[in-house]
């Protein structure tokens, strides 16, 4: 009997040795990747259905495609717009005419040179959209796009200092119809392949006009389960994963990994539906602001990582960010209670917080909020919903009382963060309706003087804070787990990951 057990154990052991020994040379290890100058990056969400840069929706897709596409200008890490496909930009004194000189020798990933026709096509495609409405709101003021030789002249119907930011729109070849599945751009990395719900592969573009990246092949691995991402790092399948939480990075061995802290560049808030009772009353909204200590939320749900915010603007937008708004409401339970009493809710009320259940940070935040709100007699129930449901019912349908979510800026303009509170905006999902705000918004979007426009945007931020449009919480910390030996990444004021900034140390 014992012999049989022993024999069985030996069989198992030899099987394991066989598994371990054979074919390990085919396995990819971090050392091999380092030697070959390759990198594997873990992402938690597959990219959009279309990789056409003019139709990207998800922030996760923009994050990857940032490396593949460039516009006439592109943002740098400091948040400034620098020339890319254009080598030079001049703006007329009246602010109505922009003249771009195309850079010589810029090539597409298929080897073809970028022509004036391609540039005009790319711009016109965005201006006209699929149905006549521009794909980017700030292109609405474009009245004419002309090209001659190697210059492109764009004329606006009204001056708009934010216009240049929209010229980060990707330049793509005109006579190419597979942009959605096999995209071609001018960026430092070219698209190689994609396997649904599995991986996306990019390769260094040898003919890049600017400083090329150092990584040869970049493989994005899609692992929608966070445990899977952490395991992937530990097992050596992945070298870098961004957007992790402190609890997740704590599981990693510091001998193999270091954690770089940046910001997510988004505004996380308890968004209140201003058109639904009791949040129609400004006093109720203010009471919630007084009841919630942002730092307490950050400490409890995020181990202290995160930057508290007081309005719909995050610190990386230094030009527009107003730090003084952060402490506009300091925790004051008595004040909150008296505001509630004034509004007719002396004993508090019941409310529902809708959260997309696939975003754990938002779920965690909602739980802390529900706890904090008890202090003023507000009884919050958390309603977790699927992301698709959140999009259709909460966001598009505006059927909710309150929700925890984060909004980022798709382009580097204040309008991208503040435009949604204009009462007529199609994406004003929390139904903010303030006459003074609308007035400021219309002034700001038609103002050419940059300093004056900045003042208007700052006034709009203050308006949101004073009227407690929402309970603004924080710009979440972006913890990036990086394998030791790998340097970078550089943080941008946008939700992107610049692969060119990554390199293995010698």
């Amino acid at each position: 009997m014992k012999k049989k057990i022993l024999a069985g154990l030996l069989v198992v052991a030899s099987l394991l040795m066989l598994l371990a020994g054979c074919g390990n040379n085919s396995a990819e290890t971090p050392e091999k990747r380092k030697a070959a100058g390759n990198i594997n990056i873990g992402i938690s969400q597959d990219l959009d259905e279309s990789l056409d840069p003019h139709f990207t929706v998800a922030a996760g897709t923009r994050e990857v495609l940032f490396n593949v596409f460039e516009g006439l200008v592109k943002p740098n890490a400091a948040g400034e717009l620098v020339p890319a496909v254009a080598s030079d930009v001049t703006v007329a004194d009246d602010g109505l005419t922009y003249t771009f000189t195309l850079r010589q020798g810029v090539k597409f990933h298929n080897g073809n040179p970028v022509t004036l026709q391609d540039v005009l096509f790319s711009i016109n495609r965005n201006v006209q959209g699929t149905d006549g409405t521009p794909l980017i709101a700030s292109l609405g003021s474009v009245s004419d796009v002309k090209g001659e030789g190697n210059t492109v002249t764009i004329t606006l119907s009204e001056a708009n200092p934010e216009f240049l930011a929209s010229m980060t729109l990707a330049i793509i070849p005109e006579d190419y119809d597979a942009q959605g599945t096999a995209p071609i751009g001018t960026g430092p990395y070219k698209f190689v392949s994609r396997a649904a719900q599995d991986s996306v592969v990019l390769e260094r573009f040898k003919d890049y006009w600017g400083t090329p990246g150092t990584m040869n092949t970049v493989t994005y691995k899609v692992l929608e389960n966070v445990e899977g991402l952490i395991l992937g790092l530990q097992s050596g399948a992945l070298d870098l994963v961004a957007h992790l939480s402190p609890t997740q990075t704590a599981q990693l061995n510091t001998a193999d990994f270091h954690v770089v802290e940046g910001t997510m560049n988004l505004v996380q808030a308890l968004y209140l539906n201003n058109a639904v009772e009791p949040f129609t009353d400004v006093r109720v909204r203010q009471a919630l602001c007084y009841a919630i200590d942002k730092q307490e939320v950050i400490d409890m749900a995020f181990d202290g990582y995160g930057h508290p915010l007081g309005s719909s603007m995050y610190p990386a937008f230094t030009k527009y960010y107003d730090e003084s708004l952060t402490d506009y409401y300091t925790k004051d339970i008595d004040k909150a209670k008296s505001l509630l009493a004034e509004a007719g809710y002396p004993n508090g009320f019941d409310m529902t917080i809708t959260v997309p259940s696939n975003y754990q940070p938002h779920v965690d935040t909602a739980q802390v909020l529900a706890e904090l709100l008890k202090e003023i007699g507000v009884n919050a129930t958390i309603l977790p919903v699927e992301w698709a449901t959140w999009l259709s019912d909460t966001y598009s349908g505006r059927q909710f009382q309150s929700t925890v979510i984060g909004f980022d800026a798709s382009e580097m303009t204040a309008r991208a963060m503040l435009g949604r509170y204009y009462s007529q905006a199609h994406n004003n999902f929390n139904n903010y309706n303030n006459a003074e705000y609308d007035e400021l918004f219309l002034q700001a979007t038609s103002c050419f003087d940059d300093a004056q426009q900045t003042q208007l945007y700052r006034a709009m931020e203050r308006n949101l804070t004073e009227n407690a449009a929402n309970v603004y919480l924080q710009d979440m910390a972006d913890l990036v787990a990086v394998r030791n030996g790998l340097e970078g990444p550089t943080f941008y004021p946008l939700y992107v990951l610049d692969v060119s900034s990554l390199h293995w140390t010698k």
Binding site: L16, L19, A20, C22, G23, S26, A27, E28, N40, G42, D46, D48, E49, S50, V57, A58, T130, D131, T133, G180, T181, A195, A196, Q197, D198, K221, L223, E224, N225, E227, G228, L229, L231, G232, L233, Q234, S235, G236, A237, L238, N358, E386, W387, A388, T389, L391, S392, D393, Y395, S396, F407, S410, H426, N427
Partner: protein, 316 residues
């Protein structure tokens, strides 16, 4: 012949019913494919245009029958999320999951039947108690938990495979095999434990039957009887159970694929459901239905070979 035709008809009806129910379920749940695709960039105009493009504005039955018509003519439709033909997306994932489930099935069958016979030796006593406890533990442990343990031990400590780094099936078949092997073990453990328990109790039951007593009184030894008569009689229920196992493995594979980062059918199904990618979900659901019905059919056929009394027309 009649039996085969009946089987095929059942198969067809099951698949149609399942596809109809899936279609109907998506019509009831909230979440619109066009709104999901456009995300926070949705404007009413863009949503309307996309709905029109995807053909979502047609009435429910029209959509269903157009899908069904396509299905019977070999056109599985185009994925909303990838704008590619569904079959091209699903086929490589089906291959991976199929391989994993076959591997799991082989492991379960190859371990549980010998273990069940072996464990029969200890009826009563401390060893039996220990064995029952271990068996219970194996049955109770959920695959995702074993998955995390196995990934940690064999992936991170022993570096036998690379969790999260599933290699290409054709380029690195051995690496992929190792990956699938450990995943198959995790799915298989509870199923194997259940098979052992079920089969063991059948063996115990059979051994008390009159024919065993007769055989032994004629001078046959116990293990000979066990191997020649009892085993064959116990196999019928075991095979039926293994047939169900084959069907249920797909359920286990969904979770394990996520833990191990295997690009299989289960993960793709879950992702497609949350993306509201109906054409993909429909196809996968029909494949799964086919799988379940086929597993049952194969088990029935095998049982009829082993036990002629079960053949149609035969007398029990």
């Amino acid at each position: 012949m009649k039996a085969v035709a009946k089987r095929l008809l059942t198969l067809l009806l099951t698949m149609i019913l399942v596809s109809f129910l899936t279609f109907a379920a998506f019509d009831i749940v909230s979440g619109d494919p066009a709104e999901t695709l456009l995300g926070t960039q949705a404007t009413p105009e863009r949503v309307a245009a996309l709905r029109e493009e995807l053909g979502l504005n047609r009435p429910f039955l029209v959509r269903y029958f157009s899908w069904l018509g396509g299905f019977f003519t070999g056109d599985l439709g185009t994925s909303y999320n990838y704008r590619q033909p569904v079959w091209g997306l699903v086929a490589p994932k089906l291959k991976v999951t199929l391989l994993m489930c076959l591997l799991c099935f082989v492991l379960v069958s190859a371990t549980s039947i010998p273990l069940a016979i072996w464990s029969y030796r200890w009826v009563g006593g401390a060893m039996d108690w220990l064995r029952t406890g271990f068996n219970q533990l194996c049955m109770a442990v959920p695959p995702f938990f074993t998955g995390i343990l196995v990934s940690w031990l064999f992936g991170i400590v022993l570096h036998i495979f690379t969790p999260g780094g599933f290699p290409d099936l054709h380029a690195h078949p051995w690496g992929a095999f190792k990956h699938l092997f450990f995943a198959a073990v995790c799915i298989g453990i509870p199923r194997a434990a259940m098979t052992v328990r079920m089969m063991r109790s059948t063996v115990v039951e059979e051994m008390q039957k009159a024919y065993v007593r007769t055989a032994i009184s004629r001078g046959n030894d116990r293990s000979g009887v066990l191997r020649t008569h009892v085993l064959k009689n116990s196999l019928v229920s075991a095979i039926t159970f293994l047939g169900q196992t084959m069907a249920e493995m797909v359920g286990g594979s969904i979770v394990v694929e996520q833990v191990f980062g295997i690009p299989g059918l289960g993960r793709f199904l879950v992702a497609s459901i949350s993306n509201r990618d109906y054409p993909v979900v429909q196809t996968i659901v029909v494949i799964l239905a086919l799988w379940v019905v086929l597993a049952g059919t194969v088990a029935d056929v095998l049982n009829q070979i082993i036990d002629p009394r079960l053949r149609t027309g035969g007398k029990a």
